[in-house]
């Protein structure tokens, strides 16, 4: 939108919502909406609190492990499905099923199989993140410009060279797009996993805060989580833009 001929970036409108929030909070209209300034104070306090550090490092660890496994499994699986039609036909259906399914219903099963600890969260993150990475990688392989592959063949590239020098680079933009969406899903996985287990990490804090009616702390944690999710996906999108800069010219 433009004001007095100056273009104002869209995300700035969030400031208006923050101001509105502060006003509503000050008027004490709703019990669950404390003034925004109070939440900011809570965030600062939270940043120094021991229990937040514990919860954050625990969550970050599960998140990182889950993502790592998703990448290690997801990308090769996607490459294979993209290159071998039979693999795609056999697995594609299940990838699509898991992609749109309410995976949170699997968490109770994961819990009885892996216990009420870290492992369950890691498996949950994996289940949330892996499918979109696989699907995007697979789509990327399928949409490679065929003349690029023919070029490799005509210059006598070995199959290892085809993978390492052509295929992986040509698919990089799609892999990164999948990774960004995978990260967003992964963050949701950590939260949902921890909420359902209810005994660990952020999930424990969220439950404690909402039951004890510590609304400022509750919102502080929510804003922190939102910022984390948006921040991570923003970082990947920066990387994506750099990659697309050279990939933009491909056919």
């Amino acid at each position: 939108m433009k004001i007095f001929g100056v273009k104002i970036p869209m995300m700035y409108s969030l400031l208006i919502w923050v101001v509105l929030w502060e006003i509503v909070g000050q008027m004490e209209m709703f019990l669950v909406i404390p003034p925004f300034s109070g939440i900011v104070v809570a965030i600062i306090e939270m940043a120094q609190a021991e229990n937040f550090h514990d919860a954050a490092s625990l969550s970050l660890y599960s998140f990182a492990m889950g993502m790592l496994i998703s990448i290690i499994v997801g990308i090769p699986l996607g490459l294979v499905m993209g290159k071998i039609p039979a693999a795609d036909r056999l697995l594609g259906m299940w990838v699509n099923v898991f992609l749109s399914a309410p995976l949170s219903s699997l968490v109770p099963i994961i819990m009885i199989l892996f216990g009420f600890g870290q492992t369950t969260i890691i498996v949950t993150v994996f289940m949330f993140a892996v499918w979109i990475i696989t699907l995007d990688t697979c789509a990327g392989v399928k949409h490679i410009n065929p003349s690029l592959l023919e070029m490799g063949e005509s210059f006598g590239a070995s199959s290892w060279q085809m993978y390492s020098k052509i295929l992986i680079w040509a698919v990089l933009p799609e892999i990164l797009a999948g990774l960004r969406l995978g990260l967003i899903r992964g963050v949701k996985g950590v939260i949902i996993g921890q909420l359902l287990v209810a005994l660990i990490g952020m999930g424990e804090l969220l439950t404690v805060y909402s039951r004890g009616f510590h609304m400022e702390e509750f919102w502080a944690l929510i804003l922190f989580l939102f910022a984390f999710a948006l921040g991570t996906s923003w970082l990947i999108s920066l990387l994506e833009r750099r990659i697309e800069y050279y990939a933009g010219s491909r056919g």
């Binding site: 669950v32 056999l90 749109s100 989580l225």
Partner: protein, 254 residues
């Protein structure tokens, strides 16, 4: 004959299902865990639930807030999205909120919803709405924004009014993508209702899952989880088919 070996043919689908369930059966027989029933056990569990009537009873309870939530989402999501797509000001103000909600783990809000609205029907509808709404809104915005500029110019060149432009050109042109957003919204709604069942109060399938878990009827528990995942996938697939039926032939070659 070669029809059978096409990419989407029944043959590959059946083979794929067969392999998946066989792997499950074998893993159950090993067994990889005492809490991992075989596929056949799970199916028996499913039939026990169907025959004692609990399965459909609980599904009716689950699907009611889902349906209401999805209808509310359709109505408000499309209205918000289309108005944001048509107006720069509304877009500037509103879109960031939905971008944030789309990317952020909104499920973290569910404990608070429970606190405010209690453990009843309303909370579940809200859970469905907050998980389904962002994708419907964002798709509707993009659908309207990406409406064919050439068609809009055409309408203007024949002195079409803004109303005619919106209703005769922009909305018909945007409807395939809006519909795609609805499909994703339905998928989001399923996520919402499952979370509501597991986090707010287990009255429907959540009750089946937690009850059978507590008495170690793992077969029934697995059957419930499998059924909701497959129901969600089948519903989404149905909307996908409907989308192709309704809109795709027109999308080809234009």
């Amino acid at each position: 004959m070669h029809e059978w070996f096409n990419k989407d043919s029944i043959f590959w689908r059946l083979l794929s299902i067969l392999i998946f369930f066989s792997a499950w059966e074998i893993a159950g027989r090993v067994p990889i865990s005492p809490a991992f029933p075989t596929f056949i056990d799970t199916m028996e569990g499913l039939f026990r639930m169907i025959s004692d009537g609990s399965f459909f009873e609980k599904y009716m309870i689950t699907l009611k807030p889902l349906l209401v939530g999805v209808f509310i989402t359709c109505f408000f999501g499309i209205t918000f999205g289309v108005s944001m797509g048509l107006s720069d000001r509304i877009d500037w103000l509103g879109q960031p909120v939905f971008i944030v909600l789309q990317a952020a783990p909104v499920s973290a809000l569910i404990p608070m919803i429970t606190y405010v609205y209690g453990i009843g029907f309303t909370s579940k509808i809200i859970a469905v709405c907050i998980l389904a709404m962002p994708v419907v809104v964002l798709n509707s915005i993009n659908a309207v924004r990406n409406a064919n500029t050439s068609l809009i110019e055409m309408s203007r060149s024949f002195q079409g009014t803004r109303m005619q432009e919106v209703f005769k050109v922009i909305l018909p042109d945007a409807s395939p993508m809006i519909f795609a957003g609805l499909r994703l919204g339905v998928a989001g709604g399923f996520v919402g209702i499952v979370l509501a069942e597991l986090l707010i109060t287990p009255t429907g399938i959540g009750d089946l899952i937690s009850y059978h878990r507590s008495v170690a009827n793992y077969a029934e528990m697995y059957a419930t989880v499998l059924s909701i995942i497959l129901l969600a996938a089948a519903t989404v697939r149905f909307f996908e088919r409907l989308e192709v039926r309704l809109f795709r032939p027109e999308k080809q070659g234009t």
